[in-house]
């Protein structure tokens, strides 16, 4: 299965090579979408993860035992359909085309799987319809 994984680090996590373990031990194909960690290892990491579901479950358990808060997420953004006017300006910010306009009815479509969580769309949206659901 392919999914996104968010890791939230508390202050007191051991200096464990987490990404290495996830790849080596759990055979996960990992793409780091976003990393925001300071020198005390506080912060968060977002992975795009591809692997079998058993290994992903094992990885989540491993992270939990380390004291890292780990969750599977499908998306880092939420679009409020009451606020969105389908102007389409957010598509200018979306290099991976997760946000795209349906060229038939010109409504805004969002493909979660393509989203890499860059969140550039959030500040681009003129009606502030897009919010961050993760942190």
């Amino acid at each position: 299965m392919r999914t996104k994984m968010i890791l939230k680090f508390p202050k007191a996590v051991t200096n464990e090579p987490i990404t290495y373990e996830l790849i080596k031990k759990y055979d996960l194909r990992i793409n780091i979408l976003k990393a925001d960690i300071n020198f005390k290892l506080e912060g968060h990491l977002i992975f795009d993860v591809d692997g079998n579901s058993k290994d992903i479950a094992g990885a989540l358990e491993y992270l939990e035992n380390l004291g890292v808060e780990a969750d599977l997420i499908t998306s880092t953004i939420n679009i409020d359909s009451n606020k969105c006017v389908s102007c389409g300006l957010c598509t200018s910010a979306c290099a991976v085309k997760a946000l795209h306009l349906n060229r038939e009815d010109w409504s805004l479509n969002y493909t979660e799987l393509k989203c890499v969580g860059c969140n550039l769309c959030i500040s681009t949206c003129p009606t502030r319809a897009i919010t961050n659901t993760v942190w």
């Binding site: 606020k83 006017v85 389908s86 102007c87 389409g88 300006l89 957010c90 598509t91 200018s92 910010a93 290099a95 085309k97 795209h100 306009l101 060229r103 009815d105 010109w106 409504s107 500040s123 681009t124 003129p126 009606t127 502030r128």
Partner: protein, 383 residues
């Protein structure tokens, strides 16, 4: 040849043939211009785009004792104190003193239309006729005597698209423009756009009744920066900006679905305004104009990294190309993104079509027509 009154008779009888400015392009391809001009009575046009040159006149009624409001805020957003005692004009781009451009005049206007309570704070120096020096009230739209949108400029006939050739992101009214020619943004409803369907202002003029954000509004005047003398192509479409319209309409009749505040990152507040304008098909010439499709409407892509003087033209493209999602510039495929909502514009064109078909909305002959010779001047140079 049809007259306004003949068309209105048909509308009132529920027999008028009404199509949108998108539909008419296909109809003319099928049945030809002559038949189309005979059969079609009205073509509906629409746009739903951000327009900074927007705002509203409001009258609050007199407090007791009365005040001459000289310094005014609405939900913390300054409004003009330069009118009579309890009149004001709130501009869409005015920013909140506390929240900056995340809450501006456009938000106040839309909150009022949505029925929300807003807070008025005002002070005055106190006069013999207006002794009070300050007032604070929580108000809704219903509490106001008059509240009407006045757009000094809307419905740009044509507008250039924007790109950024520099190596840093530019924050503009055309949205954030990513560096190194990564995106092109454009603002139009294309073939649905009102003044692209009546390029010489033969039916749209002062007094034309329109759909304005759900209300029945009117064309009040020519819009500011009315550049009707612009160079035009063989279809009469200005190569550059062209004409504009000043619009007026009652906020108390407006629908929050067709007006919305807009925020452009590190630029400021603006206002999406939904406009629908009917074009009576008086003769075959009008069919010529309304049948122009997106593949025949062209605009320039300008480089916004040049901020002083005229922005260089990077490429001339059709709206069909812009709407396809990408354009090729210097052998690079660049994605395109709109600022105006075509989805909303279509909705408005169809609502107006429906209203005319049902006999609820008639057409009006302008009481004064616009010229085709005006040129917008730059600001006078320093002496």
């Amino acid at each position: 040849m049809k007259t306004y009154s003949e068309i209105n008779e048909k509308i009132k009888a529920g027999k008028a043939v009404v199509v949108t400015a998108e539909e008419v392009v296909e109809i003319v391809k099928k049945i030809g211009k002559k038949k189309a001009a005979e059969q079609i009575d009205v073509v509906t046009t629409a746009t739903f785009g951000p327009m900074c040159s927007s705002g509203a006149f409001l009258n609050f009624g007199h407090a007791s004792p009365a005040i001459r409001m000289e310094s005014i805020t609405l939900n913390g957003v300054p409004a003009s104190g330069g009118l009579a005692a309890v009149d004001t004009y709130i501009g869409a781009t005015e920013e909140s003193k506390e929240e900056g451009y995340e809450y501006g005049g456009a938000h106040v206007i839309c909150d009022l239309i949505a029925g929300k309570t807003i807070k008025l704070k005002a002070t005055g120096k106190g006069t013999d006729c207006y002794p009070r020096k300050e007032v604070e009230r929580e108000l809704t739209l219903e509490d106001l005597n008059e509240a009407y949108i006045y757009n000094p400029r809307n419905c740009y006939q044509n507008y250039a698209a924007a790109c950024n050739m520099s190596n840093r992101t530019l924050y503009t009214y055309m949205g954030p423009l990513l560096p190194n020619l990564s995106t092109v943004t454009y603002s139009t409803s294309g073939t649905l756009s009102p003044l692209l369907n009546d390029p010489y202002y033969k039916t749209i003029g002062v007094g034309t009744k329109i759909f304005l954000a759900g209300a029945e509004g009117f064309v009040a005047w020519r819009g500011t920066q009315f550049n009707s003398g612009a160079q035009r192509d063989e279809n009469g479409i200005p190569l550059g900006t062209g004409g504009t319209l000043a619009l007026i309409g009652d906020m108390k009749q407006m629908d929050p679905n067709f007006i919305a505040p807009a925020v452009y990152e590190k630029y400021g507040t603006s206002l999406f305004v939904g406009v629908g304008i009917p074009i009576p098909i008086l003769n075959e010439e009008m069919i010529d104009h309304v049948s122009v499709g997106n593949d025949q409407i062209y605009t320039n892509i300008l480089d916004y990294s040049v901020s002083d003087g005229p922005k260089p033209v990077v490429k001339r493209v059709s709206y069909a190309e812009l709407q396809s999602g990408s354009v090729e510039i210097n052998n690079k495929v660049v994605r395109t993104a709109p600022l105006a909502s075509l989805k909303k514009a279509r909705e408005i064109a169809n609502i107006l079509k429906d209203k005319i078909e049902k006999g609820e909305f008639t057409i009006t002959e302008p009481v004064q027509f616009f010229d085709t010779t005006s040129i917008t001047k730059p600001m006078k140079k320093e002496d």
